[in-house]
């Protein structure tokens, strides 16, 4: 099951619906707190994460310096890795920052995508490829 973390789920609704139409199960989390709650309560179902970057801090990251939410996903990624060190993570963001891309390119089992470059029907094939890829 995919954990889909995005604070603008209305705008990503078509992506979620397309993933489901393509046969994938999706659990949506509209923020940091809900995402971490889903991970902590997970009984082995979550095997993929789609992660937005620019989001509210939630109560969990309230005291961390996320540049007013511009780098929330970076901090959340670290938390996700603590709970699920090997889960594949697709970073899917509007953030147009080359530093972010470089940052995530060093992370194992992680790929960085701009939202604008992936149409709803393109996401499922990418997810499947990342899940298949054992070389990571």
């Amino acid at each position: 099951m995919i954990l889909f973390v995005d604070d603008e789920l209305r705008r990503m609704e078509s992506v979620v619906e397309q993933l489901e139409m393509d046969g994938l199960r999706v659990h949506t989390a509209p923020g940091v707190d809900q995402a971490l709650a889903a991970l902590h309560n997970d009984k082995g179902e979550i095997d993929f994460v789609i992660l937005d970057i620019m989001m509210d801090l939630g109560s969990t990251l309230e005291h961390e310096d996320t540049e007013e939410g511009l780098r929330t996903g970076v901090h959340l990624f670290e938390r996700i890795r603590k709970v699920k060190p090997t889960v594949p993570v697709m970073v899917l963001t509007n953030a147009d920052d080359v530093r972010l891309e470089e940052h995530f390119s060093k992370e194992p089992r992680t790929r960085f995508f701009q939202k604008r470059s992936l149409l709803p029907q393109d996401v499922a094939p990418q997810v499947r490829e990342m899940m298949r890829d054992d070389e990571w």
């Binding site: 603008e8 789920l9 209305r10 705008r11 990503m12 609704e13 078509s14 992506v15 619906e17 397309q18 139409m21 620019m54 509210d56 801090l57 310096d65 540049e67 007013e68 939410g69 511009l70 509007n94 953030a95 147009d96 939202k115 604008r116 149409l119 709803p120 029907q121």
Partner: protein
């Protein structure tokens, strides 16, 4: 504003004046003027002036600005500080008494933005500015400026602060040893567009003379810092500053700014001979003047410039004055230390946010359109309608962000559409419908919690640009959605009514409301309520400014008619635009 309605962004000034020559002649009126000036000068919502009687050594209330009349009457002439023989005790008592005073009168109910050392200590506020204030070569008081939001400072601000702190330390080192040859005091004031925007033009033109009066200085030059170019330009000056100097243009953030300024002044030749009291760092350095004061100036919580004050005659200071100076230097140093850890964030961050706000709805449109195309013929009509609704909402929001971006870069608004026949109730209804998905996203049931019945609204037809009304309504509705608080208890009522010469579109919501003291500031360009930051609400803080400008262009207005519970905004449309039936 009432005395108890201070809030997070309020930056009051506690100001202690004594031995100012002109105050002896016309004390009540002069003090009142200074309180108002202090309030305006620092963009503060309140100012308290205290006066030390040097004979009795009692601290008394001189004047207040920004408080209600009842409070002013109660405080008039009250003695605040019992005199003490020991200088050290005098200072300690001053702080303690100020704490007690503020607590006793419950001046700052919320405990933030309070500006005196006692309260700041209690609420762990950070000092961004503790500026000595001098008159006639003598220390007469201080401006204090505290905030709990030091993170608002940019790298550039920090560089300036560093420079202030170094100068403050040098000042302390020097003033004990320097012997005066002649007395010469001047001021260089640098103000950014923030203050200029806040103050009317005639106020800015009067400011140099009034500042000279306040600080007993012979010359004052007001600079404007142009954010986009980083240049300082003279926008107002006392009468004896000649035209050549007024045309000066200085790169405010060049490392060698003092030398640059000195060279520019030197190249003007006769200027110096005619006006011997120019006071900027380059000139002061060349003449060996001692800096007694280099005070950062803030508007809102952003550093916008500084006041410099130089003299060749720093008289011997008394012990308690030296203590005060050292306190200022210490506080400045602490400010720097703290400012070092804050993230850079000026306009770049605002642009990033607006770009994000713009990209998000476009991504939404792209996703929905691609989804509909990819699944063409397979979607139910309900599903299709919902996707189209989302596309419409996102188009409207993207257009609003385009306006914000244009505004941020100082671009002109596009020419108005040709005026058209507009049915007001329909344009309001259209704006509401466009945002239905945004209400839904926030957990608000559009049908039961949003109240507007166009069939009951009177059919008013006007000649106007419907886009402007649409944008004003959209901007207000977006704020209602963003600051809705608990979506379960949220309610929004939109009504259309006649009020004398105007039609009023009133938008009232039961959201979190406008904090006390911020009723006017919400219309300021780029202002974002503290709640916006606390709740991590995205936005650039220009929506209301743009909306009000648009309505004013039509001869109307946008007003806050009630700050909270409910929060009501009135969009004022003049009846002169009405298209009467023949």
């Amino acid at each position: 504003m009432t005395a108890t309605e201070q809030s997070v962004d309020v930056l009051p000034v506690l100001h202690d004046l004594s031995e100012v020559p002109f105050l002896r002649q016309d004390r009540p009126e002069a003090l009142k003027r200074i309180a108002q000036l202090g309030q305006a000068l620092l963009g503060s919502s309140a100012c308290v002036l205290t006066f030390v009687d040097t004979e009795t050594r009692r601290l008394t209330y001189g004047a207040l600005a920004g408080f209600d009349e009842e409070f002013e009457k109660r405080m008039a002439g009250q003695s605040l500080l019992p005199g003490k023989e020991s200088d050290g005790a005098f200072l300690a008592d001053n702080v303690d008494l100020a704490s007690e005073l503020v607590e006793r009168y419950n001046l700052y109910e919320r405990g933030e933005g309070v500006a005196h050392p006692g309260m700041a200590r209690k609420y762990s506020l950070r000092s961004l500015l503790a500026a000595p204030l001098l008159s006639d070569g003598r220390l007469i008081g201080c401006f204090n400026h505290f905030t709990s939001r030091a993170e608002l400072f940019s790298e550039r601000d920090k560089t300036l602060l560093n420079s202030f702190a170094r100068q403050a330390v040098l000042t302390i080192e020097r003033f004990d040893y320097h012997r005066a040859l002649e007395r010469s005091v001047g001021i260089l004031a640098d103000l950014s567009a923030s203050l200029v925007r806040l103050a009317p033009e005639d106020f800015i033109q009067q400011l140099p003379e009034r500042t000279c009066e306040l600080l007993s200085s012979p010359v004052c030059i007001i600079w404007k810092l142009e954010e986009h170019s980083g240049k300082l330009r003279v926008i107002a000056a006392t009468a004896d500053v000649d035209a050549g100097f007024r045309r000066l243009e200085i790169d405010a953030f060049a490392p060698q700014v003092a030398h640059l300024a000195a060279r520019r002044v030197a190249s003007l030749g006769d200027v110096r001979r005619e006006s011997p009291h120019y006071a900027h760092r380059g000139e002061a350095e060349a003449r060996g003047w001692v800096s007694l004061l280099t005070a950062p100036m803030c508007v809102g919580q952003r550093l916008i410039g500084m006041l410099d004050l130089y003299t060749l005659e720093p008289r011997r200071f008394r012990r308690w004055e030296k203590d005060l100076f050292r306190t200022f230097a210490d506080q400045a140093a602490i400010s720097i230390e703290r400012a070092e850890v804050v993230a850079p964030r000026p306009i770049r961050l605002e642009i990033t946010k607006i770009v994000h706000e713009l990209a998000s709805p476009i991504i939404g449109i792209q996703n929905n359109a691609a989804f509909m195309l990819h699944n063409h013929g397979m979607l139910t009509s309900e599903k299709t309608a919902r996707k189209l609704e989302d596309i419409l909402a996102d188009s409207s929001l993207a257009l609003a962000q385009v306006a914000s971006l244009r505004h941020l870069f100082g671009g002109r608004r596009p020419a108005s559409l040709e005026r058209q026949v507009v049915v007001m109730r329909d344009v309001v209804f259209k704006s509401l419908l466009q945002l239905a998905p945004a209400f839904r996203e926030q957990g608000i049931d559009f049908r039961s919690q949003v109240h507007y019945d166009p069939s009951n609204a009177r059919r008013v037809v006007i000649w106007a640009d419907p886009g402007k009304i649409n944008q004003a309504v959209t901007s207000l509705l977006m704020n209602s959605i963003r600051y809705c608080g608990d979506p379960k208890t949220f309610e929004l009522v939109v009504s259309l009514a006649l009020d004398h010469a105007n039609w009023i579109i009133r938008i009232s919501d039961r959201g979190i409301g406008i904090p006390a003291g911020l009723e006017e500031r919400i219309f300021e360009d780029g202002f974002r309520a503290p709640e916006a930051r606390m709740l991590h609400v995205t936005g650039s803080g220009v929506g209301l400014t743009i909306a009000r400008d648009l309505m004013k262009e039509m001869g109307g207005d946008l007003r806050l008619s009630n700050p909270r519970y409910p929060t009501s905004f009135d969009i004022v449309v003049p009846r002169s635009l009405e298209r009467r039936s023949r």
